[in-house]
Every structure is written in C-alpha cells, then in structure tokens.
C-alpha cells in the first residue's frame, strides 16, 4: 500500500511538464468507456454483449491557495498558474510516483497525456485554509510507459 502524497500531478502548457501542483491535497484520475449493446439475432443465449465505442478521462484535484511569495510556488503550479490555464490552452500532464524533498523527485511515471482545464473553483471558508478545486478534461489518449524489465505486478 502507498499513501497518496507520493503520487504527484505535473502540469504545464509545454511538453515534458516539470511543475507539480503546489500544496496539493488530493488528486484522482478517472476513466470511463462508453459501451453499446452489440447483441444481434446471431447471439447465442439471452446474455447481452457489449462493445466499447468511446473512451474519456479526466483528472481532478484540490490544493491550498498559497501567497504569491510562498516558496512552494517555486517549481510548482500556483493558483495563478491554474487560473491562466482555464482557457483553450492545451496542457501537458503526467502522474508520477515521487519521493525526496516536498515529494517532487520523480521515481516512476504512471501515465501522461494532454488535457484542457475546464473548471477551477476557489473556496475561502472562515477559519479554514483557502483552497481550490480543478478539473482537467483529457484530450486524446492516455500514454502509458512500458514496464521496466524488473517490474512485477504484485
């Protein structure tokens, strides 16, 4: 089992993103396939058959709002950067297992791709850290690196 803080999202408007989401709290990758029933009169039995006719994915998460001078913003995406992404800009992402200082040193890449930032919500609740939530809509396919030769599955 691994804890979630070791998986970081890197995001940038240029290929090979190297900036994490600064002060990230949570992040999830969700994929969904659209299926269509493909049973015909030629199908044996009553069980329905399905085929995949489309696939989508999105990445969503939350992070704390830092002051512009906070040092964590150095080398990371601040809320100001995220605000700039909410336009029709193609963004490059990758999700990596990380370690080291501030959990920003890449150990392994899980997946990468391109996306558009479709949602940014800022929240400022009394006596709570201000935070923001974001949603990235996947654009195209997810790229998955091949396995290292010594890698196992369990």
């Amino acid at each position: 089992m691994r804890r979630g803080q070791y998986y970081r999202l890197f995001l940038a408007a240029a290929a090979n993103p190297s900036k994490v989401i600064a002060a990230a709290k949570a992040m999830s990758l969700h994929g969904s396939a659209q299926t269509e029933e493909s049973s015909t009169k030629d199908t044996t039995g009553d069980a329905l058959e399905y085929e995949v006719v489309g696939q989508t994915y999105d990445i969503s998460g939350s992070a704390l709002v830092l002051t512009p001078t906070d040092t964590l913003n150095t080398g990371g995406n601040s809320v100001n950067d995220m605000e700039g992404y909410v336009q029709n800009t193609l963004l490059y992402w990758k999700i990596c297992l990380c370690d080291g200082t501030n959990n920003r040193n890449v150990v392994e890449t899980i997946a990468s791709g391109t996306c558009k930032c479709t949602s940014l919500q800022l929240q400022g609740q009394n006596k709570q850290n201000a935070q923001y939530n974001y949603t990235l809509a996947g654009y195209g396919t997810i790229d998955v690196p091949s396995e290292p030769a010594s890698s196992g599955t369990d």
Binding site: R3, Y7, H30, T35, D46, L48, Y50, D154
Partner: protein
C-alpha cells in the same frame, strides 16, 4: 450454517494479459446480475397484473482495492485502453492472502470490459483504485 466471509469472496481478472489473478489489495467487490423484463400481458391474461418475461440478462462488477504500485496502475490503464473483454471470475478463496480459489458452488466466470476506473491519491490517505467491469456474454 457455513457462511462465506467477505474476505473470502474475491474477484479475479486477467489484467494486462497476466492471466486470471485475484485483484491485489482488494477491499470490496460488488457483483450485479440483471434480468431485463418485457411485459407479455395480452387480452388473454386474467386479472389486472402484468406478466413479465425476462428477455435478456446482463451483469457487472465493481472492485475496490488499495492496489497502487506503479506497475499495477499502468497495467490497469493498458487494459482500459485496449477496450477488449478480459477474463474474470469470482470465487470463494482461502490460503495465503485469501487468493487460492476453492471452486465453490457459487463460482462464476466470464468475459468483461473494464469500462470505468478511478485512481484516488489523497494526502495522508492510502491510495486506492476502483474498477468497474461490464459483463459481455454469458456467465459460466
């Protein structure tokens, strides 16, 4: 009464061509079987009640787990991208890590599409992965 505990009710899937294997670090499995009905009531039917025939069946499964090793997550992503049915089964298990199938009477197997997944990575919480399968074809 011989009860099956939840930890002994496990879901196996052929993820990324690795062969049928128990979903690692599984925490929950939920299997749904659905009979789709059609009203067959006619003028010859007596009484006010409709009469339902099951005209087709479908099944699906959701599996939640703490699997979060990089290779495991990449295998899930490759299986999703392939968009092809994979072999699955559920069974009563025992033995090391509850992974040895016992071929219980309620064992079922078939092919299914991995049609939905969520990988959750929260600060100070165990990373987890949820998989949803849509059965394609009959169970055996």
């Amino acid at each position: 009464m011989s009860k099956i505990k939840g930890q002994n009710f496990r879901f196996f899937a052929d993820i990324d061509g690795g062969g049928l294997a128990a979903v690692p670090e599984e925490t929950n499995v939920s299997v749904s079987l659905t009979g789709n009905t059609e009203d067959t009531t006619t003028k010859d039917t007596e009484g006010m009640f409709s009469q339902e025939d099951i005209v087709s069946t479908a099944w699906s499964a959701q599996v939640d787990s703490y699997q979060a090793e990089p290779a495991q997550l990449r295998a899930v992503l490759r299986t999703f991208k392939a968009a092809q049915p994979v072999g699955v089964k559920w069974d009563q298990t025992a033995g090391s890590q509850n992974r040895v199938a016992q071929n219980a009477n309620f064992k079922r197997s078939g092919d299914a599409l991995l049609n939905d997944f969520t990988m959750q990575f929260d600060d100070r919480a165990i990373a987890n992965c949820s998989l949803q399968f849509q059965g394609t074809g009959a169970l055996s």
